[in-house]
């Protein structure tokens, strides 16, 4: 008995102390609070280093960009009243609006602009998304406190898009290691919200930034809850604990069927899924073979069954959400007979065992996939079956994600299955120009076509939108004919939103990464939107 009470004397105070420490926060009026889901915790809140969705969606409320995208992907003034180039498109003048401040009341200045740009081009800064956009930058100078001048060595049609750029406060970052600056977890906001609280691993609480130069947002607080598992996120969403979350096709159907307190929204993502063929290998060095491999896949059925209708066969590398998309270009049809003829034509003939070979070499290769996606595994199994019926052996090799991306980045694979997310800037050169091959570039399938190269180069300096549109159409036809990769699907994304949230708009960038995005949401009896 004495031993038992000794044990209790030890355990109970400890338990009580921890639980008591965890308790005690009094909630806000929940009507004015928007509860959002993060699928993972941000590593940091430094806009130059951000690479993942959880980081970007939080930063979208903390930081305005010099220029923002609106829901139609037009560039609109943000921190900058204007960003204008000289006639040669080499010098850009950035004019800030007067009266803009950081959350501590200090002004946003041209020095912040110059510092941020210099930090991006510093080779040691892992600004993965931004760096390539400023490859041609020569210098960034302060003209006056509200004006910066940025000079480039060559004109580029997508250069203005690069000014969709958040700023770092120079006074807190200059002279420090950008990657380990403590401010990466206590960012200084210049947007409609500021970070009030970050409970590691659990939540981030944003409150209105009283120093924000623009209209104040309707919501008083936005609470981002880190909920990695959909198995619990969805019940929480359904019972009102979360106001939004990404939905799978099955969950969308459930929301749509039940009606009531939630609704689903759908948008076309700036992305496509594909199977990359390593064009350097003899299996895939002939466009006829690659086209045949595409025509053996029943992409319509896959879109209907595995995506629940939230996908459509892709016709090339430009998704419908981009102005440069050529809707008149039909995707390659599902046509096994025509595919067989193309394979015969390319020299891959069926032997007595039903398998195809050319010059004594069997058509047998390995497709690598990153482990983890059930749908991708199912798609690949269907493809494997279709190829087997056509006399082609395809092994599937699931790989741990890190090992998979390392192999893909190096172009060290025979075939691989992936998705590519794109920027509003439709430049195809980073992925398709013959010079952009590994280890530096992202043309990991080693596509090489002089005509496509010439078109990409011409587009890079064509500032007339209509002329560029025609050139893009021609480029898409060239790539479509070459089919360096099998463009599988343009995918739509479904999002669930609570019915108490109003003024929710979608864009090809989703619900959050445009202006005003999530900053324009109102909840319950919240006031008018931004």
């Amino acid at each position: 008995m004495r031993a038992r009470s000794r044990l209790l004397r030890l355990a109970l105070p400890l338990l009580a102390a921890v639980l008591a420490a965890a308790c005690g926060r009094v909630g806000k009026d929940q009507e004015a609070v928007i509860n959002r889901r993060l699928e993972g915790e941000p590593r940091a809140l430094n806009p130059l280093l951000a690479t993942s969705d959880p980081e970007n969606v939080v930063l979208a409320l903390l930081s305005r960009n010099l220029l923002d995208y609106d829901e139609k992907l037009n560039l609109v003034p943000g921190l900058a009243a204007s960003v204008e180039s000289d006639p040669a498109h080499l010098v850009y003048t950035v004019k800030l609006r007067p009266g803009e401040t950081w959350e501590d009341g200090s002004p946003v200045t041209a020095d912040d602009v110059a510092y941020t740009l210099q930090a991006i081009v510093d080779p040691k800064t892992p600004a993965l998304y931004r760096k390539s956009l400023f490859d041609a930058m020569e210098k960034a100078e302060v003209v006056d406190p509200l004006t910066a001048r940025v000079t480039f060595s060559r004109p580029s049609v997508g250069q203005r898009d690069a000014f969709n750029l958040p700023l770092l406060p120079a006074k807190l970052y200059r002279g420090t290691d950008l990657t380990s600056n403590p401010r990466n977890r206590r960012p200084l906001a210049n947007g409609p919200f500021r970070l009030a609280d970050w409970e590691p691993g659990r939540l981030l609480r944003l409150v209105r930034n009283t120093q924000y130069f623009g209209e104040r947002p309707a919501a008083e607080q936005v609470v981002f809850r880190v909920v990695p598992e959909t198995a619990s996120a969805f019940p929480s969403f359904r019972s009102g604990g979360l106001d939004e979350m990404r939905l799978t096709a099955a969950l969308k159907a459930e929301v749509d069927a039940s009606g009531g307190r939630q609704r689903s929204l759908v948008y076309d993502e700036l992305a496509y899924t594909y199977i990359a063929w390593n064009n350097r290998l003899p299996f895939f060095d002939d466009a006829r073979t690659r086209r045949a491999l595409t025509m053996l896949i029943d992409r319509e059925t896959i879109a209907r069954t595995l995506y629940g209708g939230l996908a459509r066969p892709a016709n090339g590398p430009v998704p419908p959400g981009l102005w440069s998309h050529d809707a008149s270009l039909p995707p390659w049809p599902y046509d096994p007979a025509k595919a067989a003829a193309l394979l015969d034509e390319a020299g891959w003939r069926k032997g007595p065992d039903g398998l195809r070979s050319r010059a004594g070499k069997r058509f047998a290769f390995t497709l690598s996939i990153g482990a983890g996606s059930e749908r991708q595994r199912q798609i690949v199994e269907l493809v494997q079956r279709a190829y087997r019926d056509a006399g082609i052996e395809m092994d599937v090799r699931p790989m741990e994600w890190g090992a998979f991306t390392t192999a893909v980045d190096a172009g060290d694979y025979e075939a691989c299955s992936l998705a590519l997310n794109l920027d509003p800037n439709p430049d195809l050169a980073p992925n398709f120009r013959s010079t952009a091959v590994p280890p530096e570039g992202m043309n990991h399938m080693f596509y090489r076509d002089p005509k496509a190269d010439a078109l990409m180069d011409e587009i890079a300096t064509t500032f007339d939108r209509e002329k560029a549109r025609a050139l893009y159409a021609e480029l898409q036809r060239v790539i479509h004919e070459d089919e360096p990769i099998t463009f599988l699907h343009f995918v739509s994304v479904s999002w669930g939103v609570s019915d108490r949230i109003h003024h929710v708009e979608t864009s090809p960038l989703g619900l959050f990464l445009f202006w005003p995005g999530g900053a324009g949401w109102t909840s319950g009896r919240g006031t008018a939107p931004l």
Binding site: L15, A21, G24, R43, L128, P200, S236, G241, W401, T405
Partner: protein, 320 residues
């Protein structure tokens, strides 16, 4: 006794170092450059520039040979400096310190719950071996033991969080015990089977002992006999408590992810997915130390409760 404790401590330390070496070797052997992977967080991200990767490698000492890194890491770990996380650059010790109290409280509460439910169940079962109570308690305990924590947790949250609305779906410590009931119950149910089965076995043995039979002959009542038997089972119960620590720690990973509890389990899962080597190693030390400390505490308390055990630890011929 002191020598025995010292021997146990050295053995535990050697085990811990062995586990660390294996974990470090596995992480080092995994394909892919950890620097490039750390900089490229998120499936959509592009590869980092060679200069950025080189800077990262230099900052985290990844440009040194693996053996040198391991020795250096163990040396610093001895001073509780586990290095900086590849993921967010923060000290690993600080990240772990934020999560340990949460996981500790969760597991302790689950263990208490398992004991509170398991002991009466076992007592009821032991009174009539093979009877209805015995069969039912065995069935219930085995059911929860065989169901993965993730499945039990999902079922609980659907019933109590969604259908009945008695608890929040995600863990909400602000709401007190109600807010953390589901993860505690999920973990507690997983520990219920071993508690019930071990206590039942101990009780049956104690009730069949000559002392118990003699007491019964003297007219001791059934309840008193069970209480006496429970007292005699204190030592194996403590050993059971220690043996449940690894199971609870492992179960915590799934339960914390499911209920969005920011404990060491969730941190471990995030760190493994992100190939955050310093964090994984630091958490390995903490989990290993938890097991070692739990079994040492159980040993110590057992020795206090039953001095014969301390005597038994003594070397032959050793002076008392």
């Amino acid at each position: 006794m002191l020598r025995a404790l010292l021997r146990r401590a050295l053995a535990a330390l050697a085990t811990l170092v062995g586990v660390l070496v294996v974990v470090f070797a596995l992480l080092s052997a995994a394909p892919g450059d950890p620097a490039a992977l750390a900089l490229r967080d998120g499936a959509r991200a592009r590869p980092a520039s060679p200069e950025a990767v080189a800077a990262f490698r230099a900052a985290y000492g990844l440009d040194r040979p693996a053996a040198v890194r391991l020795v250096s890491w163990v040396g610093r770990a001895a001073r509780l400096d586990f290095g900086r996380s590849f993921r967010d650059g923060r000290p690993v010790a600080a990240r772990i310190a934020e999560t340990v109290p949460i996981t500790l409280a969760l597991n302790l509460a689950a263990l208490l719950l398992a004991l509170a439910a398991g002991v009466p169940l076992a007592a009821a079962a032991a009174r009539r071996p093979g009877g209805a109570a015995d069969r039912l308690s065995g069935l219930v305990a085995d059911l929860f033991f065989s169901a993965p924590a993730f499945v039990t947790g999902t079922a609980l949250l659907l019933v109590f969080g969604v259908r009945l609305g008695w608890t929040p779906v995600l863990a909400e410590p602000e709401e007190g015990l109600r807010g953390v009931a589901l993860p505690i119950v999920t973990l507690g149910l997983a520990a219920l089977a071993p508690v019930t089965r071990v206590v039942r076995a101990c009780l049956l043995e104690a009730l069949a002992s000559p002392a118990a039979l003699a007491a019964k002959a003297r007219g001791e009542g059934e309840a008193a006999a069970v209480l006496r038997a429970l007292r005699r089972s204190a030592v194996p119960l403590l050993a059971l408590g220690a043996s449940l620590v690894p199971q609870l720690v492992a179960g915590s990973v799934l339960v914390e992810r499911l209920f969005a509890v920011p404990g060491t389990g969730q941190l471990l899962a995030d760190s493994v997915f992100a190939r955050d080597v310093p964090s994984v190693l630091g958490l390995t030390v903490v989990a290993g130390a938890a097991v070692v400390v739990a079994s040492a505490v159980a040993d110590g308390l057992s020795a206090v409760l039953d001095p014969r055990l301390a005597e038994g630890e003594r070397e032959p011929g050793e002076a008392s």
